[in-house]
């Protein structure tokens, strides 16, 4: 396929598909609860609504507060360019880009947390403390997974890690990759504030993790945050899909539908988890994250034999 066409498709999907994932999750949850639920495209309508609104900025905040949503969105969008979606290529690719991927999320988180602290609100400070505490535990799980992939692919480029060589690696090191898949699914739930870690639907400021950090944002800034969160979910879901289904036949007519079907499957899985279980007590969140670290850690042990 023409590389420039591929890049165009990649950017289009990465930019347009993320809110749909949220729509699918909400539909699945509604189905479990016996409700009709909001329309699939509701997240798009919400974003459009927010983009048309005015903003209110507290007088106690500084430029940091305004920079938070912008940096958070920019970093996740850039991260979406680093991952191959449905083909052998990613629009941006170089040796060592996997470290950039991890720290793009770190940078976004740093700014979101700092913007939260900038408001001086005790809730937001609490939320920022929770977010970074849990991130400390989610990050190692993510990195250990990358180590497994890098070792099995013998490369430090994401395009190679998640490339066609994975097919062969699933047969030689399938156990390690399966552990990474399980560990990363937990990381996906934690990083994207889904149940059992956080409840994206709650209005109870004392129990929130991510949501409480963005309480003071309004209008387009809030829209950017919500969109950024959707893109982040998309990036993690794409990682999982590529790991489980490393299709890169070069034929866009098979690659893209397979990739999109994989994305839907991840969204449905998230919806099922959210419907079937309650949120963890906050004090038990680290336990599950440590479990994710152990899973990916065992993957490293298996592959390093």
């Amino acid at each position: 396929m023409n590389p420039s066409l591929y890049v165009f498709l990649h950017v289009l999907v990465a930019a347009a598909a993320p809110p749909l994932l949220l729509g699918v999750i909400n539909k699945v949850k509604a189905g479990f609860a016996g409700r009709v639920g909001p329309p699939l495209l509701q997240p798009y309508y919400d974003l459009l609504k927010l983009m048309r609104k005015g903003s209110v900025f507290s007088t106690t905040t500084t430029w940091v507060f305004r920079a938070g949503p912008v940096v958070a969105l920019a970093t996740t969008l850039f991260a979406a360019l680093l991952i191959p979606l449905a083909g052998p290529l990613a629009p941006v690719s170089f040796t060592g880009d996997l470290v950039l991927l991890a720290y793009l999320f770190g940078l976004g988180r740093f700014f979101t947390a700092t913007a939260a602290m900038d408001t001086g609100s005790s809730f937001e400070g609490m939320g920022a403390a929770r977010e970074v505490t849990f991130a400390c535990l989610a990050e190692p799980a993510f990195f250990l997974g990358l180590v497994v992939l890098a070792k099995s692919a013998g490369s430090l480029r994401l395009a190679d890690l998640l490339g066609v060589s994975l097919w062969a690696n699933w047969t030689t090191a399938g156990a390690a990759l399966a552990l990474v898949l399980a560990g990363w699914f937990i990381v996906l739930l934690a990083e994207n504030c889904r149940i059992p870690f956080d409840d994206p639907n709650t209005h109870l400021e004392l129990t929130m993790i991510h949501e409480v950090m963005v309480l003071d944002h309004s209008g387009p800034a809030l829209g950017m945050i919500l969109y950024g969160a959707a893109v982040k979910l998309f990036v993690f879901a794409a990682l999982l899909v590529r790991l489980a289904l490393p299709v890169a036949t070069g034929n866009p007519w098979t690659d893209w539908p397979l990739f999109l079907a994989g994305l839907l499957a991840v969204a449905v899985a998230v919806g099922v988890v959210e419907s079937a279980m309650a949120r963890l007590r906050l004090i038990h969140v680290p336990t599950l994250l440590v479990a994710a670290c152990l899973l990916t850690g065992f993957g490293v042990v298996l592959i390093g034999r």
Binding site: M126, M277, A278, R281, L282
Partner: protein, 510 residues
């Protein structure tokens, strides 16, 4: 001499001439209350009233002796605007004493946490217990709060405006990281001055004030009020009306308990039970609407009986709908008990020990969840509950699970009761005219609302009008229980604990 023995005994559903209520001096009055509480009695109400034709103030104490099913009543005329506080020796008096101080400007000397309750002006002009300026109206929440000092201690203030659509209330947490050292609850934002508006009644407005004292306990408060009027008028209530009142009271309990179980599931992010119980709550409300046209039972309970009847066909239809709702609610709630992740959240969250429960005088499901077998329907039966007993549902762990499980047990008991009553409604009229109220009498009524004991005390003047009407909503007893439940808990568990108590703001603020 044991002061308790001197208190006047009275039974539920009766009235008493004011002249026969035991009169004490303040020291003996204090002693009598402390003796009674030491014997295991609870303070049902402790309040002040203006003495007739004088500038003085009388203190009244209504003590509930659950084991004997009697009240003990005493009063004391205060010679000055201060008296020695009971709270140090009897913690359940703490809010009552603050309320007396706020309403009448009477200082309980030595009260350990002496603050306003609802932030309104004193009933007696110029006698403010805190010496606040009479020119400016008090600002709700304008007071000193408990503070913990230390490098890593931080304070989190929530409300009075909340993120959800709930009533206003202010909560202050003293936290060390995620751990709560202390929670202070400050209410008063919904104060409407109901007790003051009832003086001079009963009139056309009175019953509506009662029905809206706490909107979700319409039937409970209206029934307590009607019992008082009927006791003061020495009127009987037709047995059919008593049965229908019981049905309405239990339907109110069913709707609220079901809604609470759904909301508890929602607070831990467990969707199935949340959604189903949200709908089922509506089904129970609709059953009340079938009875009287109002989902909250407004207009049903009236002095002398009930204003609506359920004929044979309607009672049959209600039974059918009740059975369908019973099936659905059983399934929805079973999911809750079967889900390990939900149980992990409920168990050992927000525990209240039996000792704390008894010291604070908790009532209702919150008390029964601590193992206290305390239920007005058994302890002070009135109306239909004298003929149809409902077993008391208790659990022993005192945590969120216990408060949820007691609700479920009560749902089952209430459904059985309503079914039984509807299928065998006694024949006869539903309402009888009520005569004039006896002058200078006192009546006390207790009703087990869904949240717990609703206590109403009426005092009449020489013309047979209300000289003082005291309402004690169960929330008045239980808010402090919530504060204690949060000690040493995670701040993120507060919404769950709060929901497990589900107390009324307006019932407390009156």
């Amino acid at each position: 001499m044991n002061g308790r023995a001197r208190l006047t005994k009275m039974r539920a559903g009766t009235s008493l001439a004011l002249s026969s209520v035991a009169q004490f001096d303040v020291t003996d009055f204090r002693r009598a209350i402390l003796d009674a509480v030491a014997e295991g009695e609870r303070i049902g109400a402790l309040f002040a009233a203006e003495a007739p034709q004088s500038d003085a103030v009388d203190l009244y104490a209504i003590l509930a002796d659950d084991s004997q099913s009697v009240f003990r009543v005493g009063r004391s005329r205060l010679a000055s605007d201060a008296y020695p506080s009971l709270t140090e020796e009897c913690p359940q008096a703490h809010l009552f004493e603050r309320e007396i101080a706020e309403q009448f400007g009477i200082r309980p000397e030595g009260h350990p946490w002496f603050k306003p309750v609802r932030f309104h002006r004193s009933y007696r002009a110029g006698r403010d217990a805190w010496g606040r300026s009479p020119n400016e109206p008090p600002v709700v929440g304008d007071t000193d709060y408990y503070r913990v000092q230390g490098d890593e201690v931080h304070e989190v203030a929530v409300g009075p405006v909340h993120a959800g659509v709930i009533e206003p209330g202010h909560f202050r947490f003293q936290c060390h990281g995620e751990r709560v050292f202390h929670l202070e609850i400050s209410l008063g934002y919904q104060h409407r001055g109901i007790e003051r508006r009832l003086v001079g009644g009963p009139n056309k407005r009175t019953v509506h004030y009662m029905e809206t004292a706490a909107g979700d306990t319409t039937v409970g408060h209206a029934t307590a009020y009607c019992h008082n009027v009927e006791a003061l008028a020495k009127s009987a209530v037709p047995i059919r009306a008593q049965a229908l009142r019981g049905v309405a009271l239990e339907l109110e309990r069913l709707a609220n308990h079901t809604g609470d179980l759904g909301a508890l599931a929602g607070d831990v992010g467990f969707l199935p039970t949340q959604s189903y119980c949200g709908r089922l709550r509506g089904d129970f409300l609709n059953l009340t609407a079938m009875l009287c046209g109002s989902r909250f039972g407004r207009g049903l309970i009236r002095p002398g009986g009930v204003a609506f009847d359920a004929d044979g066909l309607r009672a049959e239809q209600m039974c059918e709908r009740l059975n369908a709702a019973h099936r659905d609610v059983s399934d929805a709630v079973k999911l809750l008990w079967d889900s390990a992740s939900v149980q992990a959240r409920f168990e050992e969250t927000g525990p209240v020990s039996r000792d704390v429960c008894d010291e604070l005088g908790l009532v209702g499901p919150a008390a029964r969840a601590c193992g206290a077998a305390r239920d007005v329907r058994q302890d002070f039966p009135s109306g239909i509950y004298r003929f149809a007993q409902i077993p008391i549902a208790t659990w022993h762990t005192g945590d969120v699970f216990a408060r949820a499980y007691v609700r479920w047990l009560e749902i089952e008991r209430s459904i059985a009761f309503v079914r039984e009553q509807l299928s065998s409604l006694p024949a006869g009229p539903t309402r009888q005219p009520v005569s004039d109220l006896a002058p200078e009498h006192l009546a006390v009524s207790l009703v087990e609302g869904w949240r717990g004991e609703v206590c109403h005390v009426a005092l009449t003047d020489a013309q047979g009008r209300f000289a003082r009407y005291k309402i004690v909503d169960p929330s008045f007893h239980n808010w402090t229980g919530l504060a204690m439940a949060l000690r040493d808990q995670q701040i993120s568990d507060f919404p769950l604990c709060n929901k497990s108590f589900n107390l009324s703001y307006c019932g407390y603020d009156l």
